[in-house]
């Protein structure tokens, strides 16, 4: 444990402490330090998007992000997406539409799309394509992924309309 320091991170809404070397990247701290193995190491060179997590709501590549730079930031990983026992609409729709096949790229896609749908609940296919252009999938051919994202956007819009409807009553 030579050369390790205690790193305190806010991950998925919880304060977590772990021992890390000063140069460790976030990906290693999440997977090896915090046992959050949903975030995947793909290329390890910032090309595939498999290791995407959210830092203060924005997608970043955890394989290229110094863990120490995440102190004081809110980190969200795939494990933080579901709401209790309920899957996030993106998780449900990726499963239903066949947007996840081997599944290795899926956590990265879901984090990227979470950020997209947070700011834009009516994305065009073009906007979706641009948003996911940094995430690679070698199984699906992307068509079903885009369908899944459109379906999620629909669910989120319906949910929002429902909430607003209730507020009006």
């Amino acid at each position: 444990m030579k050369n390790r320091e205690i790193l305190e991170l806010e991950v998925n809404g919880h304060r977590r402490q772990t021992a890390a070397r000063p140069y460790d990247v976030l990906l290693d701290v999440l997977r090896d330090g915090l046992d959050l193995t949903g975030t995947k190491r793909g290329c390890d060179m910032g090309t595939c998007g498999c290791c995407t997590v959210l830092m203060d709501g924005k997608p970043v590549l955890s394989c290229l992000t110094l863990a120490g730079q995440c102190e004081g930031k809110a980190i969200t990983t795939i494990e933080g997406l579901k709401d209790g026992a309920h899957l996030h609409p993106l998780q449900k729709c990726f499963a239903d539409a066949g947007g996840s096949q081997c599944g290795f790229c899926t956590p990265g896609f879901l984090m990227t799309c979470t950020a997209l749908l947070e700011k834009n609940q009516e994305p065009s296919d073009g906007e979706i394509r641009e948003a996911i252009s940094g995430n690679m999938c070698r199984c699906t051919g992307y068509v079903k992924i885009i369908e899944a994202i459109q379906q999620s956007a629909e669910v989120l819009r319906a949910r929002k309309a429902g909430n607003e409807g209730q507020a009006d009553v």
Partner: protein, 291 residues
């Protein structure tokens, strides 16, 4: 393969002053790290030696877009996402916004910085030709003081620059006069695919004509065709003061052909780079002529 990182350390300065003092005290052995989008690619691959790093990501005084009377001011830590979203940048520096949009994809754009692109000094750096077109000046700082370097004089050779070992890039200044006189302009990037690609050829061109129709300001900047991103001043001089016609276009393209020195490497061939550079430049001139 993971790099053997045992001799590797990271310092976390509390302010710009603190960072500069540490860089001076280290005798030039600290290398700045910001978003890490270049450095960790090399470190993860084991292709650079572990060293001592100074993490400047937290220095908010180096972040953000501002302007004064004469210049647009971009802090060294300004990210590509911030450049893309800025209404001022969209209006005034479209070539830089377009370049920012082609860097990696959103997750890279959230972390990659303009100062990092400059300091990394890759001849393929996507933002660099646009900065050359806009006559950018680089403000650098150390405990010894501040100085400003015209960007076209910043690099001295392949991945080598005038930056001293104790100096940090503080901000990028772009003269409003240069931005206002860009005229017809075009950013081009040719890579293997639209996203997540490192350029085979990257370039930015601008051509401004006076009321008499003659070219009175012209910038031709290319990356990946020489050891450093560079302005083709011979081509610029050849075009300036002239009226754009078929003969001038042909002779300008010929001069560009003589001026570039592309190489074969893992991403492309010298032959392809030369062919593409000439074609995109010729097309830009033809479109400018017709507009």
């Amino acid at each position: 393969m993971r790099a053997p990182l045992s001799q590797f350390g990271v310092e976390s300065p509390s302010s710009l002053e603190d960072a500069l003092a540490r860089m001076e005290a280290s005798g030039g052995r600290l290398t700045p790290m910001a978003g890490g989008t270049d450095l960790y690619v090399y470190l993860n691959a084991g292709s650079i030696e572990p060293g001592r790093w100074i993490d400047i990501w937290g220095l908010d005084e180096l972040r953000g877009i501002a302007e004064d009377k004469t210049h647009y001011l971009l802090g060294a830590l300004t990210t590509y996402s911030q450049i893309r979203k800025s209404p001022v940048m969209q209006q005034a520096l479209p070539l830089l916004v377009e370049a920012a949009a082609t860097v990696g994809a959103v997750a890279i754009q959230n972390r990659g910085t303009l100062g990092g692109n400059i300091a990394n000094g890759s001849p393929a750096g996507d933002s660099l030709p646009s900065l050359l077109v806009y006559d950018a000046e680089i403000d650098v700082r150390s405990v010894r003081g501040s100085r400003s370097v015209p960007f076209h004089q910043f690099y001295t050779g392949y991945r080598a620059s005038v930056l001293a070992k104790d100096e940090l890039i503080e901000r990028i200044r772009i003269p409003k006069a240069a931005a206002a006189r860009a005229g017809a302009s075009r950013f081009i990037k040719v890579g293997t695919r639209a996203a997540q690609a490192i350029s085979k050829v990257v370039g930015a061109f601008a051509l401004h004509r006076g009321e008499d129709g003659k070219i009175d300001r012209c910038r031709v900047a290319l990356g990946s065709v020489a050891p450093v991103p560079c302005r083709m001043t011979q081509v610029e001089d050849h075009l300036t003061g002239q009226t754009l016609d078929g003969e001038l276009i042909a002779s300008a393209v010929e001069l560009l052909d003589e001026g570039i020195k592309p190489i074969d490497d893992i991403r492309s061939t010298a032959r392809y780079r030369r062919f593409v550079s000439l074609r995109v430049f010729e097309r830009f001139l033809q479109e400018s002529r017709e507009s």
